[in-house]
Amino acid sequence: MTALDRRQFMKRSMAVVGAGGVGALAGALGEAELRSGASAAGPEDPSQAALQAELLRRVPFDGPHQAGVLSRPQAQATFVALDSIAPNRQLLAETLQTLSARARGLTQGEAVGAQELDDPPPDSGILGPLDMPDGLTVTIALGASLFDDRYGLGTRRPARLQPMPNFPNDELDPQRTHGDVLLQVCAEHRDTVVHTVRELMRTVAGRLTPRWSIDGFQSARRGPSASSNPRNLFAFRDGTANPDTGDARLMNSLIWVQRGPGEPAWTAGGTYQVVRTIRMHVEFWDRVGMFEQQNMIGRDRVTGAPLGGADEFEDPRYELDPKGKRIPLNAHIRLANPRTPPTADQRIVRRGYNYDRGMDPAGDLDQGLVFVAFNQDVKRQFATIQQRLAEEPMVDYISPVGGGYFFAPPGSRGPADWVGSRLFA
């Protein structure tokens, strides 16, 4: 066997038996094993104890729905869009299977396996001998282009999956837009995300190739209360009006695709994921008066309350302000969610991240929002909202430059299953 063959073999065999089955090489660990491996720091150091508790937090990979959709966003994220170069449908399916297996192992915590000394280690090892879960989720979604004629998947395309259109005022860069597969990798610490992306890229090498990626972070939750939403890079609180993700019935009507006519059966339990890389022209924004900033958003910048109110979660009561004397009629929050019965089924779950890509060649801060939204029907929900927002005053201060529409299939049903299996069944 050549080195390359052996590496390929290693990957394939891990895929076939699943991460747990590789035994001595590497494997998902039980809670006790993780805990004993992690307890290097004594309980006498409270900050270390808190860190250990955070690193131990484990989000199930398997379930009716994928993880990383309804949960409160972890602190760090990377989004990677990949294009498939798999030569045929069978190899594409195997790659997605391998991807799920490796993602499951990483999200559930693994011991980094020992190997023969002359072989490259199967894990880069940058997290040490244990890959602690750290709240890691890996959400796998598929782009419209995967359903073209390459793999004969056209007839199985999710009914509402189209390439993201060019909305008015968009400046989409093709090299930062669309993709066959999207990986959303979220965890509480940057090194966990970096490690996961690195391991997953190894896993899919030669089959899925990177198209674009972007790193995101959450602003720290600085209160004043535990439920206060963190701020985006325009300094306004973001996510305030999200529907209650703990309400299963509501999520079935707004987020999860339901069994029934109009959608292929395999999509039930999945959701449409919208990603928009939105550059924020922060220097320009910072040169705008507070009054104008608040009127563009419709909220108080400090408290996040709707204008005229005092509390972030207060109802803006648009019916009492039909002329927009308190909250302008073209304020962002008013256009995005008019809070009327006819627009109730347009609501989406937003799960965005700030991004900071340093400076651009003109010396300006390249910062913005990785807008992420999940919804049951892109056309009925996200696209309708986006059309309402087309002429909001904030458009001068933002440039959507990338992203795409994707479909996140239902969750993997167990260690033997994988995300996307029903598409190929």
Partner: protein, 369 residues
């Protein structure tokens, strides 16, 4: 409230800087006068004595005395004191956010806007002439001739600066970029200057672009006809004074709007010219209102000097890619400085104090979830 306080802090800082600069200037003048050889290093030894001696008798080094604050009935001699009290609070006695300056009457903008329109009409005529030249060069099949005429036309159009945003779809037809169009640069609605730019710099046959230039001359003629009747509100006019260069930073120096020709420096220079014109028309209104006029003038001078120097060193307008690292830093940095000063204009020139936000009625008692 924070914004008012920040802005006040900023203008107070500027004022403080001016106050510090004043004795220093006096010191220099007096020092130069008193030291026989005029050698500054000698006068510095006596700094303390000279400062004390000179203060009482120093003439106003600026040679002007502001007696009236435009738009205010409060005499300039006490205006600063009264306003300083307000600035210290940031809010009025009812606890509402208030402006630190008394608003200008809207009629104060009639003359500046009218004179700006004359300027804009002149540049529209120039743009029309250059667009004709562009159409002729394309008809001849001359790529270099057409590129040169394109630069002239586009630059002339950008000289309109303060009014371009008022034409809506007409501006899209003349200067639109393919960004938001459903089919991008292949969209049939992508027709104006940037459509011609794309063709000229990506090897399209010059003659194939002629129809776009013909359409452009028609659109510019249309613009010339509607220009006299265009309405510009005071707020729009004051806001444009900083937004022309905001666009230059966002769209031109970034290269976003000129991906094919890379003529971001040329465009920024045109934007600066338009900004200077707007600022010039507004100068009478700025008299005595904060320190805005002096700050803006000095930052625009620095930007203009940087751009002129770059033009001189390149014997013409370099493309963005031709800028050296030092030049890139110079133009980016001075533009950022200019924008940091121009941001003061809309606030300084407001025609109405922002009214307090109505309270949201029927709120549950505090502490109720």
């Amino acid at each position: 409230m924070t914004a008012v306080i920040e802005r006040v802090a900023r203008s107070r800082l500027a004022r403080r800087a001016a106050m510090l600069a004043f004795p220093a200037a006096v010191l220099l003048l007096v020092g130069a006068a008193l030291s026989p050889g005029g050698a500054t290093h000698r006068s510095s030894g006596h700094a303390g004595v000279l400062t004390l001696a000179s203060r009482a008798v120093a003439p106003n080094p600026l040679g002007v005395r502001v007696s009236k604050v435009y738009g205010s009935s409060i005499p300039a001699s006490v205006y600063g004191t009264q306003i300083a009290d307000l600035e210290d609070q940031g809010v009025n006695t009812r606890g509402e956010m208030v402006s630190d300056l008394s608003p200008l009457p809207a009629r104060a903008f009639v003359k500046p806007v009218a004179s700006y329109k004359v300027y804009a009409e002149r540049w529209t005529t120039v743009a029309q002439r250059d667009a004709n030249r562009l159409a002729q060069a394309l008809a001849r099949g001359s790529r270099t001739g057409a590129q040169s005429a394109w630069r002239a036309t586009w630059s002339a159009y950008l000289h309109l600066g303060a009014v371009y945003g008022l034409f809506g779809t007409l501006n899209e037809a003349i200067d639109g970029v393919p960004g938001g169009l459903p089919r991008g640069s292949g969209d049939p609605r992508f027709t104006g200057l940037h459509r011609i730019e794309m063709g000229l710099w990506t090897g399209a046959r010059a003659r194939s672009l002629e129809p776009f230039a013909v359409r452009l001359t028609r659109d510019l003629a249309h613009l010339r006809r509607v220009l006299p009747s265009v309405q510009i509100s005071p707020l729009e006019y004051a806001t444009r004074a900083h937004e022309i260069l905001e666009d230059a930073q966002r769209d031109l120096l970034s290269g976003v709007s000129v991906p094919w020709s890379g003529e971001g420096v040329l465009g920024t220079a045109a934007g600066l010219a338009a900004t200077q014109e707007v600022f010039h028309t507004l100068e009478p209104l700025l008299q005595g209102r904060d320190n805005t006029e002096a700050v803006v003038r000095s930052e625009l001078l620095l930007l203009s000097a940087a751009i002129e120097r770059i033009r001189r060193d390149h014997r013409g307008w370099p493309t963005l890619a031709q800028l050296t690292m030092r030049e890139r830093e110079l133009i980016d940095g001075t533009l950022a400085g200019a924008l940091g000063a121009l941001e003061l204009l809309p606030g300084t020139l407001e025609t109405e104090a922002p009214s307090p936000i109505p309270k949201l009625p029927g709120r549950a008692a505090a502490g109720t979830p």
